[in-house]
Symmetry: C2
Subunit: 168 residues, 2 copies
């Protein structure tokens, strides 16, 4: 396998993984392309390498920037914009975790909190069972939340290493 093939394979797989996890396949592919690019790429280069339209490329690049996974690079004397990706996989993971937590988990936790103030006889086994189930999920989510926060704040990669020693 040569470099070009290997890159393509990587981009392809990253795209599949992304789409299985609810991330636009093209967005994941653009991300992958930039992850393995040895220099920043222009919109045109991205369009060409992935065979996608300008609109599509533009949209997904901007989305990746809003996730802070990709940065704009200005080359003096060149009118085009170039883009490059954060390559430290720890930082990448923490960014993704942070965004997903903020955009998706937090709203769910909010709903769970609302839900357990409900009227009716607190002794009613139906109500008791429901409240308990929801409250358990809420607590669990709260703990996961706290754990994520700590991991996200632990900017340094070394943390990951020593943390993982706990798991043999």
């Amino acid at each position: 396998m040569d470099l070009k093939e290997a890159k393509q394979q990587f981009i392809q797989s990253w795209g599949v993984l992304g789409s299985q996890w609810g991330i636009n396949r093209t967005m994941a592919q653009v991300h992958a392309l930039l992850l393995v690019a040895s220099q920043p790429l222009s919109t045109d280069e991205i369009m060409e390498q992935l065979s996608i339209s300008r609109g599509n490329a533009n949209m997904n690049i901007r989305e990746l920037m809003s996730w802070e996974l990709v940065q704009k690079v200005i080359v003096p004397g060149d009118r085009k914009e170039y883009f490059c990706a954060e390559k430290d996989i720890w930082k990448v993971s923490m960014r993704i975790m942070y965004e997903r937590k903020k955009r998706e988990l937090d709203p769910m936790v909010k709903v769970l909190s609302t839900i357990n103030h409900l009227e009716g006889d607190k002794k009613d086994p139906e109500i008791k069972a429901f409240t308990e189930t929801v409250e358990n999920i809420r607590k669990f989510a709260g703990q996961a939340d706290k754990m994520m926060d700590t991991m996200i704040k632990a900017e340094e990669n070394w943390f990951w290493g020593s943390f993982l020693k706990l798991f043999k």
Copy 2:
């Protein structure tokens, strides 16, 4: 808010969360419905409560069973099948983690391993950079994998509690 509303709210939110994470919205809703049901439900009850067709209900129930999140319950003297969900949220999370790891992460790790045997001058900075990026991702994934395995094997809920003390 009364119990019925609260349940509906919960089912709705669980469905949204699922779809954002690449899980069929209806599957997540059936799961939610069974999570907060005080007794096992039949296919007809699920169809009615979620306003979905028999085919749809059947398909998603079976999918949930393949994830081992839902179990069939046989009521003697009743020809209908009933279904109930695992309610221990720790177990639920571990099941989901396990399935997703197996179905989605493992194939990616396999691709990553294939990819870093590539021909060409190992000194070439292009090749070196690519190999390094991929290798870092592979290592990271390997560690996450190991961590998940440990968590999954730690059947008991107490583990979560002591584990979380690490995060203040």
